[in-house]
């Protein structure tokens, strides 16, 4: 078991999810190895985000199992799964709009901080020391993602590209052991996409964590992913390294277009 968990960080086995009579996912299996960038691609409605929602506990699966570091995490509450080290970003950016960028990142440190409401109310001493300690960690992320300018800005007032960056930063602040990115480059121009791809590769290199990436931009996916899974109508139709996917006939007919 131990040896297996070393090779596969996350293992998904026969995942099945349906809403009423509609099968969103049927029998999806895959695994992410240590230090791997895995991309899930597929047409709209193929079930990519559903996979993510199952892993993070937002959806409850009917059948199938999910193992993280050899431990079964199927259908745990989302905040439990986060505390095990799986973190996600959101397709439609779900930030705390009333807080500043810095506070959003600090909110990401929540599970690593210990002080409770009494120490927090008294502030001086334990709470302040902890705030400062975690502020230093957050500042490293601010530097990594080049967010110095927007640190004290309220997130609701930031433009789209920068909000995406805060979303990524907040996920990083959790110090995840596995990072799930749901369309981190949706709606960005070429330059912003390049920035984001650079950040993802930086994070991958610096933290050495596996990354699960959902993305539409085939160019980006082919460039940065180690392995690709293709979903269509809730079923896995192919997996392999980018070169294999490019020439797979099923993938070409389903997604890449003739």
């Amino acid at each position: 078991m131990e040896a297996q968990s070393n090779t596969a960080k996350l293992r998904v086995e026969g995942l099945h999810l349906s809403f009423g009579g509609v099968a969103a996912l049927s029998d999806v299996s895959f695994e992410i190895k240590e230090k791997e960038i895995l991309a899930i691609i597929g047409p709209n409605g193929a079930g990519k985000t559903s996979v993510l929602n199952c892993i993070t506990g937002f959806y409850r699966t009917q059948r199938g199992d999910i193992y993280f570091e050899g431990k079964r995490i199927t259908n745990l509450r989302p905040h439990k799964i986060v505390s095990l080290g799986i973190t996600r970003t959101f397709q439609n950016i779900e930030l705390f709009t009333g807080l500043t960028a810095l506070e959003n990142l600090m909110a990401g440190r929540h599970i690593h901080m210990r002080h409770g409401s009494i120490a927090g109310s008294l502030f001086f001493g334990k709470a302040r020391n902890e705030e400062v300690k975690h502020r230093e960690i957050v500042e490293d992320i601010v530097e990594l993602l080049e967010m110095e300018e927007i640190r004290q800005k309220v997130v609701g007032s930031l433009p789209y590209g920068q909000r995406k960056r805060v979303d990524l930063g907040r996920a990083l602040a959790l110090e995840p052991k596995l990072l799930l990115l749901d369309e981190p480059m949706a709606g960005m121009n070429v330059e912003e996409k390049e920035d984001m791809a650079r950040f993802i590769l930086d994070i991958h290199e610096l933290k050495g964590i596996p990354i699960l990436l959902i993305e539409h931009d085939m160019g980006v996916v082919m460039d940065i992913a180690d392995k690709i899974i293709v979903l269509d109508f809730g079923e896995k139709i192919a997996d392999g390294v980018p070169q294999e996917i490019k020439v797979d006939s099923k993938v070409i007919s389903a997604y890449l277009g003739s």
């Binding site: 705390f96 929540h110 109310s121 502030f123 302040r128 907040r170």
Partner: protein, 351 residues
Amino acid sequence: MYRPCGTFDETYIQDIAIIRTPMHWSSLIAGIILLFSLPFLVSGKYLSLLNLIGISIISVHGLSILTGYTGQISLGQAAFMAVGAYTTGLLAVYLKFPFWLALPCSGVITGITGIIFGLPSLRIKGFYLAMATLAAQFIIPWLIVNVRPDLTGGTDTLVVPTAHIGSFAFNSQERIFYLVVPMAILVTFLVRSLVRTRIGRAFTAIRDNDLAAEAMGISLFRYKLLAFFICSFYAGIAGSLWAYWMRAINIDYFLLSDSIWYLGMVIVGGMGSVPGAVFGTVFIRTLDLLVKNIAPWLGTVVPSLAGVAAAALGPFVFGLIILVFLIFEPRGLAHRWEVIKSYFRLWPFSY
């Protein structure tokens, strides 16, 4: 974040400090000295107003944490204050609890009551939650009046003994002022600290985006109930102080309309702002007294309005104020205050 020119931070401790310049410190100390000398300057009903404001501030801080920061609307704040007041009353009258023990006990018992009525918040939000907390406002007074009227006095007044510390008795408006106002300052400090640390961020995270909050590892169950506990705890403290202030409690002080007044103070002050809770309370309570003074005068000027003015002017002005704020300054007095401060920072050369 704006700060006076030439103020730079070298450490993160400096960066997160609220009181940062000598000017801040001196105005804070001067303000507190002025506040504590007020009993020598004013008297009678104005001192009574100050005590009422102090008690209300404590309660509104609690409601501000729940509604302003955590985003859970509550229409039961007055009922929770009633729990605090009657707990103090019963403990002090029948079990002879001293003041310093009855006060925290009332807070904790009210806090637990708050958790019970907060349970629906785990399933429902917004408008529907407001309806569920409304239940507290009906159930609690009913229980107080009907379950043991022999103990609580039912609809009659329950007389509460005077608060003592040693041989010092808080038996006049002047003396109780020195109990209520330090408590209000203390609670303001505690709440201001809480909302800028881990727990406060968790509350705001739930308000802004409960989905993402859960994805950050924040347990909605735990923190929603914690918000209800803290809100009700401060309501209980406020209720307890109310009991020692009036030395006689009656369920008529804790009606649904009072709950709505407290909510109004949060809105007028500015949702999710600690200074806002203070501004809103001072503003609404002072306005209320002003209107009560104007009403008889209006009656003499327009005799046909005499009866109507006395009864209806208060609620009318209150409703009008809430409307005006919702339309013209939804971020409340706290935001207005920030605007004024940043204007005078560059004044008179604001270009």
